[in-house]
Structure formats: C-alpha cells, structure tokens
C-alpha cells in the first residue's frame, strides 16, 4: 500500500528571522569567474547576490528553513523560480539587512516529480539606513515521493 505523506504544515505568513550580509570582493570574483562573467569595475556586485545575500543573511540555514516545512534537505529540494526587483544596484563591501516571510507552502502533484510541495518565500534586502535595495520571491519544489 502506498503511504501518502502527511499534509504540509500551515506556515503561510510566518516571518523569518533577519540578519545581515556583506558582499565581499572575493565572493563576487568567485561568482563571476564560475558563471562565465567578470567583475565590473564600477564597484557594483553581481546581481545574483540578491539571491545569495538574502539566503545567507537570513541566518537560517537552508536545512533549517526547510525544516519549517517538515522537509529534510537530504530529500533533494530544487529551486523552481524567483522574481527579483532592485531599487538600485548591489555594491561590493556594502552591508545589507535581510528580512523575510513565508508566503505559502502548497501540496501539488506533477507528472515528472510526483507528489511535491511548492514553497514560496519572500526575502528583502535593505541598506543600513533602512532603504529598500532588493527583494526576491523564491519558489522551491520539495519532492514528497522518491522517484524510481
């Protein structure tokens, strides 16, 4: 008999703990080098730091974030998409505060992945004066069935 996993926890609206993140020149250089780009010479950071800074600056590891969804990181979560908005460019050496909110966690079924949960959370970056710099709304797929 196939066991259906328990429904996902009701965590929509849960605020996420905040923290801080500083974009280092070393990290920016690594990101550029390993993605087919090169650092800009105007002090701006690679825009992908909107995702990196929010994820790391949250001060909640990915495993801990997924534990809120009753999901084990060893079960292979996957990023499905993101929507990012910038008020201005990110800068190397600048420190940002990070805040976040869980928007929803929904059970879905997919032909390719079987039973899964869609985990949607929004993360914001602000400068140390409190001005908004960037936001991202991330959607992750959390598979709830082992694939053959």
């Amino acid at each position: 008999m196939i066991q259906t996993p328990p429904p996902p926890p009701d965590i929509a609206g849960t605020p996420l703990p905040g923290g801080f993140y500083t974009i280092s020149p070393v990290a920016n250089a690594m990101v550029c080098r390993t993605s087919g780009g090169k650092p800009r010479d105007d002090g701006s950071a690679h825009p992908i730091f909107a995702l990196i800074a929010t994820q790391v600056g949250l001060k909640l590891s990915v495993a801990e974030l997924l534990a809120l969804c009753d999901f084990d990181i060893a079960d292979g979560p996957m990023m499905a998409g993101c929507e990012v908005r910038f008020s201005r460019a990110l800068r190397i050496g600048e420190t940002y505060s990070v805040s976040g909110l869980i928007e929803r966690l929904e059970r879905k079924s997919s032909q390719r992945l079987g039973l899964m949960d869609l985990f949607v959370h929004r993360l914001d970056l602000a400068d140390l004066q409190g001005a908004h710099v960037a936001s991202t709304t991330n959607t992750w797929v959390l598979p709830r069935e082992k694939r053959p």
């Binding site: 690594m30 992908i48 590891s61 990915v62 990181i73 929507e83 910038f86």
Partner: protein
Amino acid sequence: MTDTPLPPLRIEHVDAEAMHDWADLLEDANPIHLDPAAVRALGLGDAVINQGPRNIAVVLNAISQALPTAELTGFSARLLGNVHAGDALLVEGLHRTDGATITCSARLQADGRGTVMTLEAHLRAEPGQGKEMP
C-alpha cells in the same frame, strides 16, 4: 520597436568543483550539488546538479555583456530542468527597447536536454533615470 538578438554565451563544461564553492557561499549543503550518489538515490541522474542561482548568474552575464551600460531593475526566472556537471550550456535570447526600458527574454539550454531555464529581465536604458534627486 524591434527585437535584437543577444550575442550567445557558451559555457563548454559545467564544473563540479565550483559547485562546492557555491555550496559554501550559499551555506547550502543540499547533497544533490555535492554527491553523485545522492543524485542517483533520488532518481535525478548520475552527475551532481548545478545550483539554481549559478544557472541564473550565467544568463544574467549574457545580458550584462550585451547591454553593459543598462541598469538591471528586475528579473524573473523559471527553472525548468536541471543542469548537471559536465553539461555544455548556451544562452540565447532577444532584447527590445521601449523608451528608457529594455526588456530581455533569454533561455538557457543544456546540451541534450533543451531549455532548462527561461528568464525575463527588465533594465533601465540610462542608469540613474527615475531616481529621486537629493
């Protein structure tokens, strides 16, 4: 308004070693990026899977190289498939200018698996426009 092709950006070989660097940077120990056995156990293939943000960074680089003076104001990405270690990647797309706004639609293709990501980016043609004056 006319669509202008993005110059294609090619990555000949996705490097597994760099996935460890990205895992450290992202503080993400998800084993699908680090351990081929974990990928096999989950039925996702035989080679480690690249981090989604690294795939997005590749596409953003193609856009930045095509439009070096424009300012990125936002983007949305849909990850449709996985990129594995050893894959060859190609970014292609189009951009269109409407006044001070540029919209760019790009796709990331992995050899043998077609389009694995689509991304739409919005850019400001003249950086600094629209900002409040002090």
